[in-house]
Structures are given as structure tokens and as C-alpha cells.
Subunit: 163 residues, 2 copies
DNA sequence: TTGGAATGTCAACAAGACTGACGTAAAATA
DNA sequence: TATTTTACGTCAGTCTTGTTGACATTCCAA
């Protein structure tokens, strides 16, 4: 098994390479959330609110259960966040016509406005990073991210892409 | 400014591309932490403990202040985590000889053992993702991650690399 | 030598995750 | 039709991990 291919592969996947990836993810995630966090603070919201706003905007009319699957939290946890967003009229709730047990979630105009503000901040940093790294790097970036997800989340991620 | 280069660039950085990057980071980070989390649960530790173990292993003999800068939390928050790690003899503490205010941190043998267990789990997933995506993708992945960090963290990240 | 800066500790609190139990309404099914 | 299942909400309690504020110790420089 000591042919060129396996040696190259061993050389490539050194502990140092893996460690850099791990630390890279850790530090980059901090940058990734830093800008939205600053905005959220002004409104007394947290990251949990941001995530809910993001995916309600992404999948308008989604029901609670679907959102639960995407976010990967318990309904109690989501409910707390959702309640304040509805109270503050950033999210509106419509009872399902076909299945009246379901609550369909939508962003109100002020909800859309805050979501836009947050996603603009986050996109701005992402755009800068993409620009610095270049198109090929971005393609690789996405490939590795996708391969790092749990299989179920990979499916969820792809579904969001096509829907 | 409507030359080929700028048009290509506009085409490349669509909102959809940026959104995919944002959601990719969100879902991938979940995968990134999933395996260590499962191990930590067995020992009644959390992610904060993992992070401390990782960087004490990475920079043996570091003082609390330096660790604070790397982790980006308050000293009170780190202290709680550090206290339990010291109580459970995963981390040992040595008062500085030159400056007796400083506490230098080291992993004990059991600390090294747990850290190894955690980093093995995390590296395993990272290795698989790297293998699936290929060397070029990995290079791009790292470039984008680095460009996404806050400038200060970028410096910290690079320092860890060379030290 | 004394006062400020740096380092670290203790106490209290808040956000946001979790589990478990329970209630209600609606849909599905036996 | 009666029963079970599903979707959603809520209350209570706990845990982790972040925060501030107050305080102790140590070093250094005016």
C-alpha cells in the first residue's frame, strides 16, 4: 500500500492539516456570527431569533414541525423564541386551511426588514471572503462544508437549495 | 466598469450563492461539533471544556489571559470551566516563576487522553470530508475560512500555525 | 512605598438549550 | 362512531455557558 497515491494521500491528510481545519472552523464561525450578533443586541434578540427569522424567510408558510427539523432544537426552545417574535409582530401565524392543526409562519414587513438587515450584514462579510478567496476556493469551500454535514442535514440543505 | 472581470464577479456573487454559504456554515458547524458533543456528554462536560482542552494542548504552558484571547470569552466564564478541569485533574496549574500572578496551564495524562479522544472524533469527520472533497477543495475551504475571520483572530490563527 | 495595572476568583444573573408532563384541537383510523 | 395519533402550545425545572460587578493578589513604576 506504499504506492504514490497512498503516500500522497497520507501526506495530504496530516494531523496538522486537520487541526488547521478544526481551528479554522472555530475561528471562522466567530466571524460568521459577529456582525448579526451586534445588530441583534440592539433589539434584545439572540442568535436563536436570527435563525428562526432566516428560515421563515427562506421557507415562507412553513409549519412549526418543519422549522424544528431544520433548526435541530426542541419545540419548547423554538416556542420561546417564536412567541416573542409573534408578540413583537415580526412573525405572523396563519392556521392551516387544509389541516387546521398546523400553524404556518410568515415574516411581517418589520420581520422582513430585520431579516434583511441581518442577512445583509452576514452576506457582506461572506461576499468579502468569497472575493478575497476567488471562485475556485468558494467551490471547494462549499464541497467541504457539505461533506461535513450529517447526512440528514445534507438532504435538508439540498432541499432548501432547489425549493 | 462593465468589463469582463466585473461582470464575471457580479455573476459569481449572487444572493443565492451567499445564502448557500451562510446555510452551509450553519449546517456544517452542527456536524463539526456533533461527535465531540456525544463524547463530552458521557463525562458531563460541554463544548467549553473541549475548547479549553484543545487550546491548552495546542499551547502548553499558556496563561489564562492568552487562553482568554484565543477563546473570546470572559475570564469568569473560562474560570468556571478551568476550575472543574483542574478539580478533575485533567488540567494542572503552575504558578509563574517570573510573574507569580500568572498561572500556566498544562494537560495531565488523563487530560491528554480525553483531548486525544475528542480530537480523534472530530478529525475523523474532517478527514472524511477532506477525502470526499479532494485536495483542491480543501485549499479553497481554508482560504475562505481564513478570509471570514476577524482580522485579530486571523493573526491568532496564523500564530498557532507557526508556533 | 504606595497607587495603579494586570491577573485571577467568587457571586449572582440571563439566554438558550434540554427533559418531562400535560392540555387541546384536529385528523386519521379501527 | 369511538379511539388513537398527530401537531402544537405551555408549565416547571435543570444545565451549560455566557454576562457584570466586586474583590484579592501580585507586580511595577512613579
Amino acid at each position: 500500500m506504499q504506492n504514490d497515491r497512498s503516500r500522497e494521500s497520507l501526506l495530504f491528510l496530516t494531523d496538522e492539516q486537520l487541526r488547521q481545519g478544526i481551528e479554522g472552523m472555530f475561528f471562522a464561525y466567530r466571524g460568521f456570527t459577529a456582525d448579526p450578533d451586534r445588530i441583534l443586541e440592539k433589539y434584545n434578540y439572540g442568535r436563536a431569533h436570527h435563525r428562526a427569522l432566516h428560515f421563515i424567510n427562506r421557507v415562507p408558510g412553513t409549519n412549526v414541525n418543519n422549522l424544528l427539523c431544520i433548526l435541530g432544537v426542541t419545540k419548547q426552545s423554538l416556542n420561546r423564541v417564536l412567541r416573542t417574535l409573534i408578540e413583537n409582530e415580526l412573525v405572523s401565524l396563519k392556521i392551516g386551511t387544509k389541516d387546521r392543526r398546523e400553524r404556518h409562519l410568515y415574516l411581517t414587513d418589520s420581520g422582513k426588514s430585520l431579516e434583511k438587515q441581518l442577512s445583509n450584514a452576514q452576506s457582506h462579510r461572506m461576499r468579502e471572503a468569497y472575493r478575497q478567496a476567488g471562485p475556485d476556493a468558494v467551490a471547494g469551500f462549499k464541497q467541504v462544508l457539505e461533506a461535513m454535514m450529517d447526512p440528514k442535514l445534507q438532504v435538508t440543505y439540498k432541499k432548501l437549495r432547489v425549493s
